[in-house]
């Protein structure tokens, strides 16, 4: 969406020498000169009121010999966003001023741009690789960087048909494996990185207490194999006794190169890959991707399909939050029973997904312009049974089961998570932001699909503590049930796709950023098309990854036992975090 006209005038008029409108066809926003980026960004935040920086995205325009960094800023009071970009020559070292001082939420995203694109952010406090390991050769998302199993720039590969003699990719690689080394590399001379940078970035000192007893801070590495880090996350902690005095998350243990593979795929082929981002909520992922491509293609979605999409997305939210409650209780020591109860409802919801889409988890259900198949009548009946009877009753039961439990309340109540100011500064979105008292829900703030037709409240709580973070999930389940009830009543008859089924779609050149309120927060997709069958740049702005930026802020000064609960509160999922 283009920024409103008044703003266009304002920003260019405010900085006539350093800001210009982006005039490329299909693009929107402003181009800011590198030198004045900090100044303009400060004005965008303070004068224009765009307090939430959601996405920092690097783009490699190798043909124009340029690198671009795209920033998306939004107002927490709602409305469309402001896009501003900075362009630099594609000659190493590529340097751009860091915006961490202005929006702390830029921290990890800038590190990702450094890791994958090799853009140095001047003034960044801790610019290390984030998804790959230190010492990795090259910046993989650059267009001239090729991986070991590289076959062609774009799919479909020519070797598959008509003369598709089967071979394994290993056989074509000089190292006979998915590895690549610089010429004349000798593994015996390698000096292995001992992660000194990571540990020196942790605050490390020793103190003397009153008795003159010298105490050292100790470094503890949690993960990547740890039962309560929700996957393969690793966190390096420094502890003073039991108090956390330093914390750095280390991620990338599930970095599956989603962006790079996506840039090779055709638009349609990306859909099943998006399923595997946040693997609890494949329907929400499909949703975000589909509306982004539809924005680029400028097509409308079939009316009935819009409702089906909403029904699926809300069912997804319910099962995600139920499982959240179950796993959180697991982390707190209530082993298994709550999560087994939660999984029971989840199974029933997954049955519906399996009946309409064919798979329990990886639904691959959305298509551009609609969905792949209609909901059969007997499945619709099942959805009605669930929504009108079972789910409200089971949510009540879950609340009766857990929410008054004294142990749970004692563990959660009064443990501070994030204040509203910090949450916004760190670009936190989703339930964590709303539990800090900021009623920011994209379904309301910047409505997509048919969410503007439903009557629902944005769940919000004001105590900023863990108990509120936990309870807000139940509030959201109730609101989702409300939306579902209306959607089921209002769903019209009609076609389920406005387009003819086609395995290749034509996407006009341009850029688009689409976002949905996934159960974990803002899930954004940024796509640049150059009119070819494959996107030029495909980037996912995952909620889990950006929310992780605030983890350090949340945990410093708390006890190590609360850290597990705080991590559970963020409700991260590694597939989305590492992509």
């Amino acid at each position: 969406m283009a920024a409103p006209l008044t703003l266009t005038v304002n920003l260019v008029a405010r900085f006539p020498n350093s800001v210009s409108a982006d005039a490329r066809p299909g693009y929107s926003g402003f181009i800011v000169t590198k030198e004045s980026l900090t100044e303009v960004a400060t004005a965008i935040r303070d004068e224009f009121g765009y307090d939430l920086l959601t996405a920092v995205i690097a783009v490699d325009y190798i043909n124009e010999n340029k690198m671009e960094v795209v920033y998306h800023a939004y107002k927490t009071t709602g409305g469309p966003g402001l896009v501003f970009k900075v362009q630099v020559e594609r000659v190493d070292p590529i340097e751009v001023p860091s915006l961490v001082e202005i929006w702390a939420g830029a921290d990890f995203q800038e590190r990702e741009a450094w890791d994958l694109h090799g853009i140095k952010f001047i003034g960044h406090p801790d610019l290390r690789r984030i998804l790959m390991w230190e010492g990795f050769d090259g910046h993989p998302l650059r267009k001239d960087w090729k991986e070991a199993f590289y076959e062609e720039d774009t799919k479909p590969f020519k070797s598959r048909w008509p003369d598709g003699q089967f071979y394994m990719a290993e056989s074509k690689n000089p190292f006979k494996d998915n590895i690549n080394f610089p010429k004349d590399f000798d593994p015996d001379t390698l000096i292995v990185d001992k992660e000194e940078d990571l540990y020196s970035s942790l605050e490390r000192h020793s103190t003397k207490d009153d008795d003159g007893l010298k105490t050292d801070h100790i470094v503890v590495n949690m993960g990547p194999h740890h039962p309560s880090t929700h996957g393969v996350l690793r966190v390096a902690l420094t502890l003073d006794g039991e108090t956390i005095v330093g914390l750095k998350p280390v991620m990338g243990y599930l970095h599956r190169n989603h962006d790079k593979i996506g840039e090779r795929n055709t638009y349609l082929q990306i859909i099943p890959y998006t399923d595997r981002l946040d693997y609890f909520n494949s329907m929400s992922n499909n949703f975000g991707y589909a509306i982004t491509v539809e924005k680029l293609m400028k097509i409308a979605v079939a009316e009935r399909a819009e409702y089906i999409r909403v029904i699926m997305a809300e069912l997804t939210r319910i099962q995600n939050h139920l499982v959240f409650a179950g796993t959180l209780l697991n982390d707190l020591g209530a082993m298994y029973t709550p999560s087994i109860y939660a999984f029971e409802e989840r199974e029933l919801i997954l049955d519906i997904f399996e009946e309409v889409s064919g798979a329990r988890m990886m639904c691959n259900y959305f298509r551009f312009g609609g969905v792949v198949r209609d909901i059969p009548d007997h499945v619709m009946q099942k959805i009605k049974d669930l929504v009108f009877e079972r789910l409200p009753a089971k949510t009540d039961e879950m609340e009766r089961f857990l929410n008054e439990n004294e142990i749970l309340v004692a563990r959660l109540k009064g443990v501070h998570v994030l204040s509203a100011e910090d949450a916004v500064r760190y670009s936190v979105t989703g339930p964590v932001l709303r539990a800090a008292g900021v009623p920011y829900d994209i379904r309301r703030a910047d409505p997509y699909s048919v969410y503007d037709r439903f009557d629902f409240d944005v769940a919000v709580r004001y105590n900023c503590d863990m108990l509120d973070n936990y309870l807000i999930r139940f509030d959201e389940i109730r609101q989702s049930i409300r939306i579902l009830e209306q959607a089921i009543k209002q769903i019209p008859q009609g076609p389920i796709n406005s387009q003819k089924p086609a395995y290749q779609v034509r996407v006009p050149a341009g850029e688009a950023y689409g976002r949905v309120e996934s159960p974990k927060g803002e899930l954004g997709f940024y796509i640049i098309s150059n009119g070819k069958p494959n996107p030029w740049r495909y980037h996912v702005r995952p909620a889990s990854f950006v929310n992780m930026t605030a983890l350090e802020k949340m945990c410093l000064g708390t006890k190590i036992a609360d850290f597990i609960a705080l991590l559970g509160m963020l409700d991260i999922v590694m597939g989305e975090l590492d992509r």
């Binding site: 199993f149 599930l254 990886m362």
Partner: protein, 209 residues
Amino acid sequence: MENETINSPGYDIPDDIKNNIAVTTIDRLYNWGRRSSVWPLMFGLACCAIEMIAAQTARYDMSRFGMEVMRPTPRQADMLLVSGTVTKKMLPSIVRLYNQMPEPKYVVAMGACASSGGPFKEGYNVVAGIDKFLPVDVYIPGCPPTPQALIAGLIKLQEKIDKQSIRTAPWYSKMKDPNYVPMPILGPDLIDVRRNAEIRDAAATKESA
């Protein structure tokens, strides 16, 4: 195990003791004990891990097979269920976990990613199958395999355990750590230290980009 299978050692039993005493071979009894208490390592990698958890919950209930005891420490686990995409960054940790598991130990590659890299095979940070490093006993295709498919695969593993013999089991041999896998190193890319010479030669003859 059904009575008939455990009670038929393969030679004749006199009729008068047939229903009073269970006669079986040591192997049968030994394998019956092992197959009915395969404790998996509590270790999830990616999407498949969620289906693994689902298989533990009420609907599929893996405890019917004695597999509900998920052990967070490898020292107490019998089976490494590689449930998801193995990335290069994660691989050293997985190999370390495997080495820390006591014998007898089994590796199940759950899903396409663990078997061969799956849909992410072409990625720069993805290992093309855990079998490049660890000896895999059962491959379960699917992306992700449904909990029922996982259980079907684990039944396959039980069948494999049934065929093993106490006499030829490598873990009672004199060999120290028969399945020890040296730790891979993260350099410019993933380095399998068993292949250092080969990598050096291939890098020397590589056409420079």
